[in-house]
Symmetry: C2
Subunit: 201 residues, 2 copies
DNA sequence: GGAGGCCTGTGACATTCGTCATGAGTTACC
DNA sequence: GGTAACTCATGACGAATGTCACAGGCCTCC
């Protein structure tokens, strides 16, 4: 019997996944939480074998939760279950110590199979996504370029970004310029968009 | 017995919701599709009573599917089931002829309750969301201002927007300027963002 | 028929943005 | 100790953007 922990911010999805997984005779959903920062405590309390983690959650995100889990509770493996199959997400997931990565538009049998294989100690990754990740390569952005792009995301002006990061406006313009070049964009907005899609942010 | 049609682009969510709803003794999931343009045919073929529609789908979106369904198959009511509780979505859903609107972070009982009430002929809407919609009011944008904002969304330049909409660049600048003013933004990017969040696009 | 609103366009203007050259300070690595 | 990369900054330049005033054509509504 494999003991599962579910973490997803949408209650309906959480409940529905639990209903689906409970149909499998060798699975048992022992806990379901809606926040990333509740994952570790729940995993400890219910002695989960595998944590199914969504990425987008309040508190800390699923990738960070996987990292904490790997450190504090090595007996509980993590399987990232998310909507977006972005290359950068997969990379960060594996760096965070997750044992698997499944996207939400996969068929149910694939999820069940992934859970069983992770429980057996394997690492499970969608082959197509893995190939895309290798092809994309790591982020070419420096730490500060990334910061500036993140701060620019909501549509902030240069002055606002500079104020938020305690930089001069000229410096912000320079970082933005190089980030735009590295993203192959012609705009701040386009650079933010492509960097986001690549998982660089 | 209420016959349900599920439409969601993510297969896992589709399957999981089907598993959840089948637990209710008075529900029967008779069809599940992953594209908006398959909804009507499937509803006809399986004589569904209620269609549960996600908004974001390939083909046509759930709101458009609800409109077609209301026209071609009045016996089948629509219930929008979506991640985002944006005021504009709710407004467009009700204008499209949908009978209900539930967000995906509602508890499962609320969904089941909504389905039963829609089946009984009621209109079902989350009260908090309805209040937000009334408070927000309709979009202040004119049709063209909206078009320009949509075209500007990926980070396009003025020249690209003008080319796409067959307008002069000066005209595009004028529309953008008034749209920015109406959105209370100081940027094109910020205007796109807030308009998107309000459901004006 | 007149008023008002939207669509489309032009021209001008100040501001912001993106690019480039350059330099100093820091850290890391050979 | 030297090289390289990153961080932060300044100044200057052209291009893109946002704002404003204005005008003609087309609707709709009173």
């Amino acid at each position: 019997m494999i003991r599962l922990l579910l973490a997803d911010d949408q209650e309906l999805i959480r409940t529905a996944l639990a209903a689906l997984l409970d149909l499998q005779s060798d699975f048992e959903v022992v806990a379901a939480v809606g926040r990333g920062d509740e994952v570790v405590a729940a995993a400890k309390a219910h002695e989960a074998d595998i944590a199914l983690l969504d990425i987008e959650m309040p508190g800390i995100d699923g990738l960070a939760a996987a990292a904490v889990l790997a450190k504090e509770l090595p007996g509980c493996r993590s399987l990232i279950l998310t909507t977006f199959g972005r290359p950068g997400y997969l990379r960060r997931a594996l760096e965070s110590g997750a044992s698997g990565f499944v996207v939400k538009d996969a068929p149910a049998e694939q999820l069940a199979d992934a859970i069983r294989r992770v429980a057996a100690g394997e690492r499970v990754v969608d082959p197509a996504l893995a190939a895309a990740t290798l092809a994309t390569g790591a982020s070419p952005l420096t730490a500060r370029e990334r910061d500036v792009l993140v701060a620019a995301r909501p549509g902030a002006t240069i002055a606002e970004i500079a104020e938020k990061l305690f930089l001069s406006e000229g410096t912000v313009r320079n970082y933005l310029s190089s980030a735009i070049a590295k993203a192959g964009a012609r705009n701040r907005a386009e650079a933010v968009r492509t960097a986001d899609e690549q998982g660089w942010l």
